[in-house]
């Protein structure tokens, strides 16, 4: 509830404003009438089942997917890489796809985040090395700064990719399924890191995940997406499983409580005994 009041009192213009966004991909309506406003300092969890349009929404926000109806404005501009640098950071699922055929150190990977259309042809450093070290310290990888990324654990690799996004000095960070393939400890410490980035460094975070339980522990605001936005509100008001099924239009199969008929399944009695 507290989150809502912050948003209401906020006088800054919103970072992201989406109006009536509809996306049709190969004849199928993937997103329909999406309205979304994101303010500075929010930590938003975007959840939804597979094929619910989460990735489509992200790609539209990033300006990669251009064919859509409705309007998107990020920092008051149309989504386009030209307006993004130093503002919008992207953490792709690529952490698990990072090249393994060649050697690349954490430092080298993170440094790629400091390249943009303007400085990519220049020889000069423009203080990029310091930005890289700062970003690596923020994610706590300074011990493995010169280690080859293929030697890192899944969690460390994901942190390296986040550091790459931080090195762009972006304030608005979008993450696509950063928790995939991580064990419990790595997941917890990554969520802690994201929480710290939001509170201590003032970053705005939009994170896509289908790990509902994990994201509920961290995000301030939850959005449930399945073609349309089915729920958008503070995390503590996020519906329980039955209401969620109702929201998604999943009807109950059984009339009453679910019974297990042990005598109808031949092996069941053996198991129970």
């Amino acid at each position: 509830m507290q989150q809502n009041s912050i948003v209401d009192d906020c006088c800054d213009p919103p970072i992201l404003e989406v109006n009536n966004l509809t996306v049709i991909r190969s004849g199928k309506v993937v997103l329909k009438d999406i309205d979304l406003v994101v303010h500075k300092g929010e930590f938003i969890g975007l959840v939804g089942p597979n094929g619910s349009g989460k990735s489509t929404l992200l790609l539209s926000l990033l300006g990669v997917l251009k064919s859509h109806k409705g309007s998107i404005s990020i920092y008051g501009n149309q989504p386009s890489p030209k307006n993004f640098f130093g503002r919008v950071g992207w953490v792709s699922q690529a952490a698990s796809y990072l090249p393994r055929q060649v050697k690349l150190t954490v430092r080298e990977l993170v440094k790629l985040g400091t390249i943009n259309a303007k400085n990519m042809f220049s020889w000069s450093d423009y203080g990029r090395s310091e930005k890289v070290i700062k970003a690596i310290e923020m994610v706590g990888l300074e011990d493995v700064i010169d280690a080859d990324i293929s030697k890192l654990s899944g969690g460390q690799r994901q942190r390296a990719v986040i550091a790459r996004a931080l090195a762009t000095e972006a304030d608005f960070i979008l993450l696509d399924e950063p928790l995939v393939g991580m064990d419990r400890n790595a997941r917890n410490s990554l969520l802690k890191l994201l929480d710290k980035l939001c509170h201590d460094s003032g970053k705005t975070i939009l994170m896509v995940s289908h790990d509902l339980t994990a994201i509920r522990q961290t995000a301030h605001r939850m959005i449930f997406l399945e073609e349309k936005i089915r729920f958008d509100g503070p995390t503590n008001l996020f519906p329980d499983l039955e209401t969620l099924a109702d929201l998604r239009g999943i009807t109950p199969v059984h009339d009453g409580p679910i019974h297990f008929h042990s005598n109808e399944v031949p092996w069941a009695s053996e198991v129970i005994e």
Binding site: Q101, K103, L109, D148, R164
Partner: protein, 303 residues
């Protein structure tokens, strides 16, 4: 077209100066006789630029594109021969650049995956050349065999010019775009979000690869181009600890393959291209075995 001449003018005094220290009976000719000097300079040039490309090809999973484009170039050479061209390599250049751009487009539009599009162009354009050669020319002659297996000593002044232009331009462009190229190779979507022109860089890289492959055809031969494009870079991955150190190791392995290959081929009177490829593969095997015994960990800590 004077770049080749200029290079010879600058480098021949250097080569002649170190000639007395060069071992072997025939090998020293590479440092004293003009025809051999041209061969040596071309071989070193293509090795340097092939090494620069190799690491990027490995990340892009395009290890065999060199082989594909070399076959395509051979198709181009065949067409050039049929049409009676004096330098059939220019036809090879056109064929190779066209195929490389098409392979890139098929991949980036996700019409076909990397390997399949390479395979189609490799066979299709090679077949085109062979059919044309059978109908219009006299089939495969010894002249044409030179393009298949490489013939260093047939490199004349205009060939060296072409090789020098291609290599120097490619090295210059690669140095200029290397950071953007690495970013687009590692993660295209992130690179696009950062405003790096992913498509333009990809196309430029394809054109450079195509041109470099053509410049390599006469040096190592169409069948063995991959040996200099990929083998040194792959060997470097076993030893290096970072992208930068792998780039340096690639040059070390590539240049030693060429020098040892030329030495053995001239002393044992074998084909230079095949000997270079054999040396490169041998270096890879030796390094791979030593790597398994952690031999290199002693002195790679500093790199």
């Amino acid at each position: 077209m004077v770049l080749g001449k200029e290079l010879m003018y600058i480098l021949t005094p250097l080569l002649e100066a170190i000639a007395p220290f060069i071992p072997g009976e025939v090998f020293p000719y590479f440092f004293t006789m003009e025809m051999f000097q041209r061969a040596l300079i071309s071989a070193v040039l293509v090795t340097i630029v092939a090494g620069l490309l190799g690491t990027f090809l490995l990340i892009r999973n395009l290890a065999l594109i060199g082989d594909g484009l070399a076959h395509v170039s051979f198709g181009g050479v065949a067409i050039g021969v049929v049409l009676g061209a004096t330098s059939p390599l220019y036809y090879a250049l056109v064929f190779s650049v066209f195929a490389s751009i098409m392979i890139y487009e098929l991949q980036s539009r996700e019409i076909l995956t990397g390997d399949a599009s390479i395979a189609i162009f490799l066979t299709g354009m090679l077949a085109f050349g062979l059919v044309a050669l059978r109908i219009g020319g006299g089939g495969i002659t010894t002249d044409i065999e030179g393009y298949l297996f490489g013939n260093l000593l047939l490199i004349d002044e205009s060939d060296l010019d072409m090789i020098a232009y291609i290599c120097l331009f490619s090295i210059l462009i690669l140095f200029k775009i290397s950071s953007g190229l690495l970013a687009t190779t590692v993660d295209p979507l992130s690179a696009a979000v950062q405003g790096i022109p992913v498509r333009e860089i990809g196309l430029l890289f394809s054109v450079i690869t195509a041109a470099v492959v053509v410049s390599m055809v006469q040096v190592v031969g169409a069948l063995l181009v991959t040996s200099l494009l990929v083998t040194p870079a792959a060997t470097a991955q076993l030893v290096g600890r970072s992208f930068r150190s792998c780039m340096i190791w690639t040059q070390i392995f590539g240049l030693s393959s060429v020098m040892l290959g030329l030495y053995f081929s001239s002393e044992l009177e074998t084909g230079s291209g095949s000997m270079i490829a054999l040396v490169a593969a041998t270096i890879f095997s030796v390094v791979a075995i030593l790597h398994n015994f952690k031999f290199f960990s002693i002195f790679t800590k500093s790199m």
